[in-house]
Amino acid sequence: MAEHTNNPVGKSVPRVDAFDKVTGAAKYVDDMQFGPGLYYGKLVHSPYAHALIKGVDVSKALALPGVKAVVTGEDTPGRIGLYMKDRYIYARGRVRYVGEPVAGVVAITEELAEEAAKLVAVEYEELEPVFDPYEAAQPEAPVLHPKMAEYQWPPFIFPEPGTNVSEHFKLRKGDVEAAWPKCAAIVEQTFRLPQIQHVPLETHVAISRWDETGAVTLWSPSQSPFAQRDLLAQSLGISHGDMRVISPYVGGGFGGKAGISIEANVVVMARAVKGHPVKVQMTREEEFVCTNVRQSLYAHTKIGCDAQGKVLAMETQYYFGGGGYNDYGVNIARASGYSCTGPYLIPNIKGDSRSVYTNTPIGSAMRGFGMPEIHWGIEQIMDRLAEKIGMDPAEFRRQNCVRTGEEILTGMKMPPVDLVACIDKATEAIGWGQKKPASAPEKKRGQGLAIMWKAPAMPPNPGSSAIVRFNEDATLNVYVGAQELGQGAFTVAAQMAAQALGIPYEWVRVSANPVDTKYSPYEWQTVASRITWAMGNSVKAAAEEARQKILDVVAEYWDEDPENLDIKDGVVISYQSEREQSLKNMVIYGLPNDNYEGWQGGPIVGTGKFMPTYITGLDKETGQGTRSVAHYSVGCQAIDLEVDTATGQVDILKIASAYDVGKAINPDLVLTQIEGGAVHGMSSAFEGMFFDAKGRLKNPSLVDYKIATAMDAPHEIHGDIIETPLDDGPWGARGVGEHVMVQTAPAIANALYNALGVRFDDLPLSSEKIYLALHAQETGEK
């Protein structure tokens, strides 16, 4: 502890989790040891996209020696879901996507479980499936959830029972019909995005043990240990006090490990073999179909502006392909509804955002939560409008983007952000408007940019809490229930605790690995880029409480006013008497009275909580409300790329990003998010899940679902941080973890247009698609 990094907020201190991760010591769920009593589970998946289950015969599987149990829908009568409780843990009566768990087999070895899973005989009656979200929303589409009216959902979700629409969010502002005639330029276009997958390096894995006493434990790599506890407790009738979720390091989340997925299936398996832990690990192939994916989107959007480039009106229809169960997805459609304009001030809006049941894997949260999907179309239309009226696309965005204090689409006042500064920084870094020559005669070079916004999409009242606890030598343990996904949550928790207490960063230990619902303070979920902000506020509050307790003890000891005391470098000082009191020992043992006649103080513990209390509902018919969300983070990305016209291959030369994070608690960690997000965003533009006519995934492996390698990553990634403090953020901070990939795909599309003069309305991009489009254009021109 030779080093004393005081006031660490705003400093790029080292990560607290890095040492464990570079030595192989970091434990992930699959690394945990359970001894010889461990059983293995294997899921039986539906081979049909849409079918009735006529019967399940488990007798052959059960007869296999070493098989301990087989569970089916018979064992899970209660529905489960974070927002829309729309599914059974194991299918009952009907299956709605290829890969849906129909049964679970428990055996003494993994191989045996796999063998027995093949012996579970399920009789199906195939039904007509529907895959496209727009088609699924039409009246003639087969209805996937005929009993939707019976489901439970929170009051801010508006499903349409009798159809496949699980959420319909309406945004109405101004008068679009009256605005169109005033527009000098209008662009109307349909955009389509396929489902894509998170592809965390660690696949889903879960281990559960159900004790005879009724205590239930789940070990899972989870962004949501507390939400999982709540959902399992509710669905399976377990007391929250008896349901324990333990979650060590997560090997990549990106939203895929938020909410609940296979974990519930494993808990039900464990119930059948009480006393034995049961482990289920998704193969990479299962990961693609049996865990969560990002929804597909059909977007039809029309935007118009006047001759001066002022955007006047927008009309948009979003149909999110939510998969067989929409659970989390309903809130993605909602978030995409109340943010449907993207980061623009538009006076007249008619927006409809729907989540639609489709016979595909479950669409759920993925980094950006609806925003990457809707920005794909919006940001290309804005480029086209700028071109139509002859304005520079960056200038067009500067003119129309939202600014602090303006009344945005929902009627809410825009919290403090500086998007113009983001545009300025990103364009400066890319050398905007100074197109450089391509590196070879057959190559074409182009620049493009895109801007974004995103709010943390949550229920109105997600809570965070934290505890700080001193040790004898004044080192401090910080307890949080937030999860370390790699984004640096633990590190910023330590920084904030040190800053708020006045102790060196090196004195702080983070006691959060594993997150354990039995010991960790409550955290709603590690999602929505909300942790630095929400957890941060609770850590700050806990540290401030501990600080006050210390000052009170010392003030009484010195007979001074606590107002005149402070803690600096781990020492209590008095501005009045210039006395000093080290924190060492006193934070546990207190301070002795004169002549040791009694003691004052005692072990110092601080607790803190945070919950936004100001979020209002939104009107069902208009989407209007005074404060729809906590805040927005904004940013701009600019891209320089080159296309090989002989093959269509794209070389991303540079991505320059600038995001307004309020306050960078750890600037270097913000930059690592910006860099990683740029590559994730770039990769996502070339990713897609492709299904055959029966709804079977054609590329469920890394052989044919390609993510970017080190060779594909841009030659240069530049990041700039803008800091416009947020009123209720700790030291002004707000999140940035998701924002960094929201607009990468449309920025690439705009750069491709700049290079080639060709527009791409549908994702994914591919060398083939680019080459063929370019070729068709050339042929057409001839």
Binding site: E111, A646, T647, T709, M711, S766, S767, L772
Partner: protein, 283 residues
């Protein structure tokens, strides 16, 4: 993974005994990069796997009077970095260097790649233009077949039951310059959409050209029409004609990786590139 028995025979006699075990599904194993994932997914169900990479001579690269001998169990990275291969058969070194990624190339072998006989094998166009002889050994003795006759179709070869590929012989081609150009969806570590090997061999009149395509037909194919055109001179117009001839010689399929249409177009452009690269190398 389903159970199987693994053997590592010390000599060919023992290997053939294992390979000919009656009533068993027996598979030779070299780099294991295909066998393990296929067995894991149940696409193959071997009872016995016979690790043949320690058999005598299987891992040798040596110059002989007839040409360069490359053992079947020589790994892709060894081929890619071998001074002998780089000197005598650059085009094969280039092909081997594009297989998968570093880790796979440290395991995958030339013979294994050939016996898997994927139409997209990255060493095959090179072997075709080098007119390699495939050395085969069975319990009855040794034989060799021209590489063009070795590949019979996707995952089908000229091997008989119980036979092993023990190596390839690359005939001496003094002064020849070749190049392998690969196109895939991603820049690296991806399966080939189009692979083109071009080779120019000095002759009295100039150069004799050879051209072979991978991944665009059930087997790798030579393009004699293109070769004739180029052998009469490789000016820009000839390159264009050769590329058109390559286009005519291919018969790609539509699949998850690409459409046949794109593959056909790319045969033209990648062929031009491969030829261009060879020309750059010519003195």
């Amino acid at each position: 993974m389903r159970k199987f028995d693994y053997y590592q025979p010390k000599d060919f006699a023992e290997a053939f005994e294992l390979l000919l075990l009656p009533d068993k599904v027996v598979m030779p194993l070299a780099g294991a990069t295909d066998i393990i994932p296929l067995a894991r997914d149940g696409h193959i169900q071997p009872d016995v796997v016979v690790d043949i990479k320690s058999l005598p001579g299987m891992r040798e690269i040596k110059a002989t009077e007839k040409g360069l001998l490359v053992g079947a169990a020589v790994r892709m990275n060894e081929i890619a970095s071998s001074p002998l291969v780089r000197e005598h058969a650059t085009v094969l070194a280039e092909g081997a260097a594009t297989v998968g990624h570093v880790q796979v190339r440290n395991r995958a072998t030339l013979g294994g790649n050939m016996c898997t006989a994927s139409p997209a094998g990255d060493t095959f166009p090179a072997l075709l233009v080098l007119e390699a002889e495939v050395l085969i050994r069975g319990v009855e003795g040794e034989r060799s077949v021209p590489v063009l006759e070795f590949f019979k179709g996707p995952r089908r070869t000229a091997l008989h039951k119980g036979e092993l590929v023990v190596g390839v012989l690359l005939p001496k081609l003094d002064g020849a310059q070749g190049h392998y150009t690969k196109l895939s969806r991603r820049k690296v570590a991806d399966l080939t959409l189009v692979g083109v090997a071009a080779l120019a061999i000095p002759s009295e009149a100039g150069y004799v050209w050879r051209l072979a395509l991978g991944a665009v037909a059930p087997t790798p194919v030579r393009v004699p029409a293109a070769e004739q055109i180029l052998s009469q001179g490789y000016a820009a117009a000839a390159i264009e004609q050769a590329a058109v001839a390559a286009h005519a010689a291919c018969s790609p399929i539509d699949d998850i990786r690409s459409s046949a249409e794109y593959r056909r177009e790319m045969v033209v452009n990648i062929t031009k590139r491969a030829i261009g690269k060879v020309i750059e190398k010519l003195p």
